[in-house]
């Protein structure tokens, strides 16, 4: 365990190249960026925008250990949930930032859109906090690309809003089309599991809860899509190029966040 610092320097020098990289790569974040964050976190512990999940780790397991019939989730099911929740959190982070950076520009020239932008922003903030809580509770690691998505989403929101209301709405349309499809795919997979469990008489509250959240959020995303189309997303110039680029970007971002 104590491989890192003192006793093993000699051993490391003779270690294979690969192992050295493994070690140094792993330590790199601590050397480069850790100190400030850990300072903030150790004493104020306010880095997360959400409330602590009270005793999430202690309240459930005891009561459920009395049910020996429960099988563990398979590794591939856990992997699926792991990357699904990671992608969803990253996506909602991006959505919050896109709306946050679009809003001031859009409502300056179109004040009547203020309630709509506020409404969509509030829903995205709700989605973001839902997934923040879920990934903390289920011990899913967040995406390593977090700062990159932050910058990219802000730039995207800002850039499209500068192009005008139609482009901003086309951005929403493109993003929500991808995201809606993405949530639909997850709902389909989880529904399939839930049906199989039901068939064996092993309903799962955890799974049902997750399904309910995913469906609610998907419906809200599709609602955003409708709002965008109603607000002339289709008359954005150049519509095809803009939406294709954004949708391509979304797909790439999803693909990366699933893995990284």
């Amino acid at each position: 365990m104590s491989l890192t610092l003192f006793s093993t320097t000699k051993a490391l020098r003779s270690a294979s190249r690969h192992s050295q990289f493994a070690l140094f790569d792993f330590l790199a974040p601590s050397i480069v960026t850790s100190s400030q964050t850990i300072r903030a976190s150790l004493f104020h512990s306010t880095t997360s925008p959400i409330e602590p999940l009270q005793n999430a780790q202690t309240s459930h397991p005891q009561s459920l250990q009395n049910e020996p019939s429960r099988k563990p989730l398979t590794q591939s099911q856990r992997d699926f949930l792991d990357s699904a929740l990671r992608v969803n959190q990253a996506g909602e982070l991006a959505a919050v930032l896109i709306y946050a950076s679009q809003t001031p520009l859009v409502i300056r020239s179109h004040p009547h859109l203020r309630p709509l932008m506020q409404h969509m922003y509030d829903q995205e903030a709700g989605h973001f906090s839902t997934f923040n809580q879920l990934i903390a509770k289920h011990r899913v690691r967040p995406t390593l690309m977090y700062p990159v998505w932050k910058a990219a989403a802000t730039a995207l929101g800002w850039g499209t809003a500068l192009m005008g209301r139609e482009a901003a709405m086309a951005c929403t349309e493109a993003v929500e089309t991808e995201i809606g499809g993405h949530y639909n795919e997850q709902v389909r997979v989880l529904l399939d599991w839930a049906e199989k469990l039901e068939g064996r008489g092993e309903g799962s509250e955890e799974l049902d809860g997750l399904l309910k959240e995913l469906r609610r959020i998907r419906d809200e995303e599709l609602e955003h899509l409708d709002h965008a189309v109603q607000n002339d997303a289709k008359s954005a110039e150049p519509y095809e190029l803009l939406t294709n680029v954004i949708r391509g970007g979304c797909r790439t971002a999803i693909w990366i966040s699933e893995k990284v």
């Binding site: 365990m1 104590s2 491989l3 890192t4 610092l5 003192f6 006793s7 093993t8 051993a11 270690a15 294979s16 690969h18 990289f21 493994a22 330590l27 601590s30 480069v32 960026t33 850790s34 100190s35 400030q36 964050t37 850990i38 300072r39 903030a40 976190s41 150790l42 004493f43 512990s45 880095t47 997360s48 602590p52 009270q54 005793n55 780790q57 459930h60 397991p61 459920l64 020996p68 429960r70 099988k71 563990p72 989730l73 992997d79 949930l81 001031p104 300056r108 289920h138 011990r139 690691r141 967040p142 390593l144 730039a155 995207l156 800002w158 799962s204 955890e206 680029v245 954004i246 971002a253």
Partner: protein, 256 residues
């Protein structure tokens, strides 16, 4: 287009096979509250290794301890099929069982509970948990340097590092930390570094009740907190500068 290109260049810089990611991927996976986690070791392995651990204070992390353990568990000798990594399997057993034991050895009063003078912050909980894990090495501390040498063998390094990362993850989780941004990584990496340094220090500590180890741990934790704001703040600095630049331009009437 720009976003797609950016994303692509990022993927090529951080390929999915990067050792750093491999470690985190081995370390963490969706944790379910409804399904029973399988036991960390199969029964036969578990029987031999838990018996062998009791011989470590006398015989160290050695094949002697392993053989005595196998005999205690009713096996004639240690089969290489069962424990292909030999002594390292014994070390790994100690690491895994002590990590999993943490959640039972350290119990914090629950949030609503009255009586505890002051609610412990996450930082204090991290300290308590780290100390508890170090104390679990106490019975075998005089044998721990041998174990460290085995763990540092090239073929065992990835497993050992991943196990260290799992311990750091466990501690932050049990401490109730819910950060879900990049600090998730930096917190785990810093704690891993601090833990391993302190563990090595402890093997040379001759003080009563390992008070010097405790002091060492405290100063490492304090250091991380004092040095902060340097490079660590880069991301936040960019964030801040970016936003304030936009705000200044806006206040000057620039329509952005």
């Amino acid at each position: 287009m720009a976003l797609a290109r950016l994303s692509k260049s990022i993927t090529s810089r951080f390929p999915a096979t990067s050792p750093c990611l491999t470690i985190w991927r081995q370390t963490c996976s969706y944790h379910s509250y409804e399904y029973v986690q399988p036991p960390p070791f199969p029964p036969a392995e578990s029987a031999i290794l838990s018996a062998a651990i009791s011989h470590v204070p006398n015989y160290g992390f050695t094949s002697t301890a392993l053989n005595l353990g196998a005999r205690d568990a009713g096996y004639l000798e240690v089969s290489t099929n069962l424990l292909p990594r030999g002594v390292f399997d014994l070390i790994n057993y100690h690491l895994v069982t002590q990590r999993l034991a943490l959640k039972d050895t350290v119990q914090f009063p629950s949030e609503g509970e009255q009586g505890s003078a002051k609610k412990l912050g996450v930082g204090a909980k991290v300290r308590t948990l780290t100390l508890a894990r170090l104390r679990a090495n106490q019975p075998i501390i005089h044998r721990w340097q041998e174990a460290l040498a085995v763990m540092a063998q090239p073929s065992y390094v990835p497993t050992s590092v991943a196990e260290l990362a799992r311990l750091a993850d466990e501690i932050w989780f049990l401490a109730g930390d819910v950060s879900v941004d990049t600090s998730w990584y930096t917190k785990r990496a810093s704690l891993s570094a601090i833990y391993s340094a302190t563990e090595v220090f402890m093997t040379q500590d001759r003080s009563e009740e390992f008070t010097e180890t405790e002091e060492f741990l405290d100063s490492r934790l304090n250091e991380v907190m004092k040095v902060g704001g340097f490079l660590g703040g880069l991301g936040e600095w960019l964030d801040y500068t970016g936003h304030s630049a936009v705000n200044i331009l806006r206040s000057k009437g620039v329509r952005i």
